[in-house]
């Protein structure tokens, strides 16, 4: 079961430019939360604040607080935060020189876990969760780049799950995939929600409507509205939300 993540008054800057304005938001386990909003509104920046990946950007600065299950994430080592709050990116990014197996096992190897049986168990379990085991079980020692694009993305999901996270952040995970691939990813995410806290960024409104229990609407670095997906799409409280979900802009 996942842990809840609470963002409290998060503001983010790139150099002098402020791109997030006091965002407060809680995502809870057992649900899928979606973030929607036009390009450049700060969706990716926000999710990178949640796992401290933003700190890898040289001129980025963040204020505010993020709590994982009640613990301030800045009190933990950032590597541990990133293991507990896993992330999947828009373009599948398996490690190009590693095999399928090693890609999934990479996070374990990095922690010094080398015991073959333990690693193999983890790899099989997480590949199953990513619905990829049956496809690749005979190709575990092949290079990861030999997989199809959708399989590579599933591999990246398995890689994130292998280090036993509580939370999974997905930043437009299907934007490079075909409609079929998109549906496949959505099914996987839906199965995962029993075990993890899930946050998905998407520019695809239908996708948010299909998979998300709650949806947040971002605009120009501000959180405009956050509510049950159903309500946000049918009875938005803010006119800007209404304009966006009805396709008047964005």
């Amino acid at each position: 079961m996942g842990e809840s993540v609470t963002a409290f008054e998060i503001s983010a800057y790139y150099g002098q430019k402020k791109v997030l304005h006091n965002i407060s938001l809680t995502i809870i386990p057992g649900e899928i939360t979606a973030i929607i909003g036009p390009p450049g509104c700060g969706k990716s920046t926000f999710v990178r604040c949640l796992n401290r990946l933003i700190e890898a950007t040289p001129d980025a600065k963040v204020t505010g607080q993020v709590k994982l299950g009640g613990i301030d994430i800045t009190t933990l080592p950032k590597e541990e935060v990133r293991r507990k709050i896993g992330m999947v990116f828009a373009s599948p990014n398996p490690f190009p020189t590693m095999t399928v197996f090693d890609n999934v096992a990479a996070g374990l190897y990095l922690q010094g876990i080398k015991q073959r049986s333990e690693v193999a168990d983890h790899v099989e379990r997480t590949l199953r969760m990513a619905s990829l085991w049956d496809e690749v079980k005979d190709r575990l020692q092949r290079p990861a780049l030999a997989l199809s694009l959708i399989e590579q993305q599933q591999l990246c999901i398995a890689r994130a799950l292998a280090v036993s996270p509580d939370v999974l952040l997905l930043d437009e995970p299907a934007s490079m995939l075909s409609p079929m691939g998109t549906l496949q990813i959505e099914e996987i995410i839906d199965d995962l929600k029993m075990h993890y806290t899930i946050l998905i960024v998407t520019h695809n409104l239908q996708q948010a409507a299909r998979v998300a229990d709650k949806t947040a609407f971002f605009l120009n670095g501000e959180l405009i509205e956050f509510s049950d997906t159903m309500d946000l799409f049918t009875t938005p409280k803010d006119t800007r939300t209404e304009d966006y979900v009805t396709g008047r802009f964005g």
Partner: protein
């Protein structure tokens, strides 16, 4: 819009221009081949070397070995320095400081070979030891070549997509794990290819500078050729050409290998 006919003439002129340029470039290569063919294996004869009279002796073996040893020593010293400097630039520095350093690197990395030769002559050690001479040459070539080595290696890392780095960090890799366990292994083919290209260049650079190194002496190929022409020494000229021919073959082989590696790495990515 330009008229179509004019554009056609322009593009044909361009093709012609490149053909002429290519032909001119072929002349020295062909002349090398012809000398070796006409004079036969004599041009490649290694035996009976005498340091006292290198122009007229069969100094080819020493010339060849000297060049190769200098090139390899240079790469041995330069490679680790290059790798760590390039990583430092691409992974740790950013903003103004990076821009400043890169400006200097770019400026120094296109130092012409002529200047290299002048610097070498300037500090040439007064010694009888072949190894001291070789080491001196390697050290000088390293110092002069380093900006270019670093810049080309830096370009390999800079052109990586950030998603590879983020992918590693996102599963809890520390920065050094990300660099040494993911970034570097993912680029070993490209880095190797860059090194080979640089090796070929060092050999080429050394070749034009050195005809032979022994007993603390080094003789420049251009000087040797000039000397041979002035003295109307057909043998010395032949050997100089034979030497150049061998090195050219070697350089072509190394560059071909580098290309193969780059191509297969690109196919993989």
């Amino acid at each position: 819009m330009e008229p179509l006919a004019w554009r056609k003439i322009k593009s044909q002129g361009f093709v012609l221009f490149w053909m002429i340029l290519g032909f001119i470039a072929l002349i020295p290569v062909l002349s090398l081949v012809i000398v070796v063919v006409v004079r036969g294996l004599f041009a490649l004869f290694f035996d009976g070397f005498s340091a006292q009279n290198p122009y007229y002796a069969q100094a080819l073996l020493y010339s060849f070995l000297g060049t190769i040893i200098v090139a390899i020593l240079t790469m041995l010293v330069a490679s680790p320095i290059t790798l760590f400097s390039a990583l430092y630039l691409s992974e740790w520095l950013s903003g103004k400081r990076l821009a400043f350093l890169m400006t200097w690197l770019r400026a120094f990395s296109d130092m012409p070979a002529l200047l290299t030769g002048m610097v070498i002559v300037l500090g040439f050690p007064n010694t009888n030891s072949t190894w001291v001479t070789l080491l001196y040459l390697a050290a000088t070539l390293t110092a002069i070549g380093l900006p270019r080595f670093i810049r080309t290696t830096y370009d390999v890392f800079r052109t990586t997509s950030p998603i590879l780095r983020e992918g590693a960090l996102a599963i809890g890799a520390t920065k050094s794990q990300m660099i040494f366990k993911v970034l570097l292994p993912s680029h070993r083919a490209q880095v190797l290819a860059v090194y080979l290209q640089q090796l070929a260049r060092v050999i080429g650079e050394t070749a034009s500078l050195l005809l032979f190194v022994k007993g603390g002496q080094a003789i420049f190929l251009s000087v040797a050729i000039d000397h041979a022409v002035v003295n109307a020494s057909y043998d010395a000229l032949t050997r100089a050409y034979g030497f150049a021919f061998l090195l050219l073959l070697l350089i072509l082989m190394i560059l071909w290998l580098a290309r193969r590696i780059t191509n297969s790495a690109n196919r993989m990515l």
